[in-house]
Symmetry: C2
Subunit: 318 residues, 2 copies
């Protein structure tokens, strides 16, 4: 199975209560590809950097099996740059600086070898660019997932609604779900979002875990919701990239298992959550670079234990 | 097994975005006993009301098997009264009025038949009263659980710390855990609370579920945490009593099963969560009065499905 992703490859200045880093490696596509690489090789990236982006970092991505044929390197230009500072509780942050640089006039160009992906992960970029990627495909992928953010809900709602009609899985956080639908209740928001197109919806709630909805009808007492926990951590060191890492683990696992059933998607949400729990333990992509398959499996086992309880489903009364 | 509980039996005026009720039946002991009554009969209540409390409501409690021998009825006095208004998101509320009435000089008196409980649930009251109950016991119960609130953390911290040294399970919400310990991280707060006495800690997170900690060491990669989801609901109608209902379901299930292992306590947390999910669907105790064993079992099945996923624990790599 092939997995194509689009998103930024960038530099981040990050300040948290635990310290700060400058020009750390970041970007949605970087986190997605790194997280996915623990499950699936040859993740194809469509993105753009300037000639300031370190060659050894690109070499590293390739060494993890990431396919960079679709990564444009613009001579004489600078890579996308973001600077942010997290508040003490790490649940919110201020953006201190955003320099679009090469992203300002980015046009995604899919190499021929990228045009028939089985799985497509549209990382957070303008909805117009996400649509351009879909329009270059020769086949409808088996599954298209999309991440977006409050900024596009505010500024590009029409394009966003258009692309929502073209995808299978929307991955957003709780505040974005509320903003997109005007519903405070996440269950009502889910029903509204299914009506916009996606059959599957993942609502990320940070330290409170994630909800997966599958064509959920808010009026039915059905079982089309899955609740994945977040691993309770003593310290969250740096939340940057956690959402992208979740998406990468989720799509990497789906591509590896080649199974888009609701049951398998539950497993994929757990794998995504596990990868995100690693991501936040160190600055930038530091932790994602040094995992082993054993460490991933051990972390998955912790998730299994975290929610595992033994009540048998009974048709009769208690 | 016998289950003893202490707490208020009271009137509530409640206003939510969905309506308001006046002089509705409330009080921690009422919710605890009603929720527990679906699992365990003969729940013993220690509390106090005035002669204004409706006899038919007391008859109803007895009809559900609640033992009212320890309920003092003060002639010529008024029952405890609370009035509150919930904000639009139902996550916070303002207290509009509190009239202690009979509670002002309440001294808990345990009938002889109450002095050897197997399970003791100390509902939210002053820590001094909670201690008085423990001191009247002839035997150390198999399990003592305690609920408290921010008001006692502020105003009666020394007494609270004393009673924490006498109990097994502390049941509080996330903000109270942070306030009690000064730790923002709930994992760190848990370690600090274990150091105050309780081997078990349940942190209620409202719509985000509940965490159960068992002597958790924040530095160990152990599996002494259990994460129970809340049922995602389209509408939360009235959150009043949800925490007490959780405690009642939790303790009722433990008393019924007579098993205080960590594994069984996980199940009890699910039963408590299920009862709380009913409680919030209607005003006051309305929903808790009309449940059936079948409805409870059906709700439990929804919780099982909500978190159930099928990843086998593997010693080897993925």
């Amino acid at each position: 199975m092939s997995l194509l992703t689009i998103g930024t490859v960038a530099f981040d200045d990050i300040e948290t209560p635990f310290g700060r880093v400058e020009r750390a490696i970041g970007g949605a596509a970087t986190y997605i590809a790194l997280a996915a690489s623990y499950f699936h090789k040859d993740v194809q990236i469509v993105s753009v950097v300037g000639d300031d982006f370190p060659k050894d970092e690109l070499d590293y991505l390739q060494s993890r099996g990431v396919d960079l044929e679709g990564l444009q390197i613009k001579e004489g230009e600078k890579s996308f740059f973001w600077a942010g500072k997290y508040h003490d509780d790490l649940n919110s942050r201020d953006t201190l600086d955003t320099q679009l640089n090469v992203l300002a006039d980015f046009e995604p160009i899919l190499p021929n070898s990228y045009r028939k992906p089985d799985f497509l992960m549209l990382g957070n970029l303008t909805p117009a660019i996400q649509i351009q990627v879909i329009e270059q495909l020769e086949n409808r992928p088996k599954l298209i997932a999309l991440d977006t953010m409050n900024f596009w809900i505010d500024s590009a709602l029409e394009d966003l609604k258009r692309v929502l009609g073209m995808i299978d899985v929307l991955i957003i956080n709780d505040e974005e779900a509320r903003q997109l639908t005007g519903e405070h209740s996440l269950v009502k928001a889910a029903t509204a979002i299914h009506g916009m197109g996606p059959n599957y919806l993942i609502i990320k709630k940070g330290e409170h875990g994630a909800l997966l909805f599958y064509n959920h009808d808010q009026n039915a007492e059905s079982d089309s919701i899955f609740f994945a926990p977040a691993l309770p951590l003593a310290e969250v060191f740096d939340p940057t990239g956690a959402g992208d890492t979740f998406a990468g683990g989720f799509m990497g696992y789906l591509a590896k298992s080649n199974d888009t059933s609701f049951e398998n998607m539950k497993r994929a949400v757990i794998y995504g959550s596990a990868m995100a729990s690693f991501c936040v333990e160190e600055f930038s992509v530091a932790k994602l670079k040094k995992l082993t398959d054993e460490a991933v499996q051990k972390r998955i086992n912790r998730f299994v234990n975290l929610v595992n309880f033994n009540i048998e489903l009974k048709p009769s009364a208690v």
